[in-house]
C-alpha cells in the first residue's frame, strides 16, 4: 500500500516564476492538506482540499492556490515566487469523516518537495 507520494523531490526556481507541486494521497484517503515548512520552523498549514474544493485556508496570500482532482490527488501552485517561498512543502492526506470528533487526528504526511527560489 503506497503512502503519500509527492513530486518532484527537489525544485529550483527563480524569483517571479511559477511552480506546481503534486501530491498523491494514501490509498483510501480523500482529503489533502498542504503545509509549508521553512528552515528551522514547524510546518505551517496552507490549505485543505476535499471533494475538489478548498475547505480551509491558512494565512497565505492568494499567490498560493491549489486544486484537487477526481482521483483525490492534488496540486499546489505558487505564482510570482519570492525568495521567502523557499521551503519544504509537505502534503498530508486523511479520510474526511463527517460529524463528531474522532479518536485521533490521522494525517499521513509525504516526504515533501524541497523548493529553492534563487
Amino acid at each position: 500500500d503506497a503512502g503519500v507520494t509527492q513530486s518532484p523531490t527537489h525544485l529550483i526556481k527563480t524569483r517571479g516564476q511559477q511552480v506546481t507541486l503534486r501530491c498523491s494521497p494514501k490509498s483510501g484517503h480523500d482529503t489533502v492538506s498542504w503545509y509549508q515548512q521553512a528552515l528551522g520552523q514547524g510546518p505551517q498549514f496552507i490549505f485543505q482540499y476535499y471533494e475538489e474544493e478548498e475547505r480551509q485556508r491558512g494565512n497565505f496570500p492568494d499567490r498560493f492556490s491549489g486544486h484537487q482532482f477526481p482521483n483525490y490527488s492534488s496540486e499546489l501552485n505558487v505564482n510570482a515566487l519570492l525568495l521567502g517561498d523557499s521551503a519544504l512543502y509537505l502534503c498530508a492526506s486523511s479520510l474526511f469523516l463527517a460529524g463528531g470528533r474522532q479518536a485521533y487526528n490521522e494525517q499521513f504526511f509525504g516526504p515533501g518537495t524541497r523548493l529553492t527560489v534563487l
Binding site: 498549514f45 463528531g100 487526528n105 515533501g112
Partner: protein
C-alpha cells in the same frame, strides 16, 4: 504569533534513560494535541495524541501528559533508544478529526546517545 511553542531546540540523552520533550500553547480553543516524529528526508510521522478531556495517554514507551491549566504538554520516552533520534513536533488542533488543520511548534531535535 506562535500559538504552539517548543522552547528547547535540542535535547541529548543517554540510551536507556528518559527523554522529556516539552510543549506550551497559548490558544485555549485547542482541544486536541499530537506529537509527530520526523527523520531527515521523510515526512512527519504521527506518534501519539491526547484529547483535552484526558491528562495522560500511553502507547508503549511513549506517554503524553497534558496540563490544561498550565497550557502545557510533555512527551516522555522511556527507555530512550538510538532509533528515537529525530525531530519531534508538537501540534494542536481545534477538534480531533482529520478534517482540522494542525498548528505545529518549531520542533525539538532529540539525540539519543548509545
Amino acid at each position: 504569533d506562535q500559538q504552539v511553542k517548543q522552547n528547547s531546540p535540542s535535547l541529548s540523552v543517554q540510551e536507556g534513560r528518559i527523554s522529556i520533550l516539552n510543549c506550551d500553547y497559548t490558544n485555549s480553543m485547542f482541544d486536541y494535541f499530537l506529537w509527530y516524529k520526523k527523520y531527515p528526508a521523510e515526512g512527519p510521522t504521527f506518534l501519539i495524541s491526547i484529547s483535552s478531556i484526558k491528562d495522560k495517554n500511553e502507547d508503549g514507551r511513549f506517554t503524553v501528559f497534558l496540563n490544561k491549566s498550565a497550557k502545557h504538554l510533555s512527551l516522555h520516552i522511556v527507555p530512550s533508544q538510538p532509533g528515537d533520534s529525530a525531530v519531534y513536533f508538537c501540534a494542536a488542533s481545534k477538534g480531533g478529526g482529520s478534517n482540522y488543520k494542525l498548528t505545529f511548534g518549531k520542533g525539538t531535535l532529540l539525540t539519543v546517545n548509545p
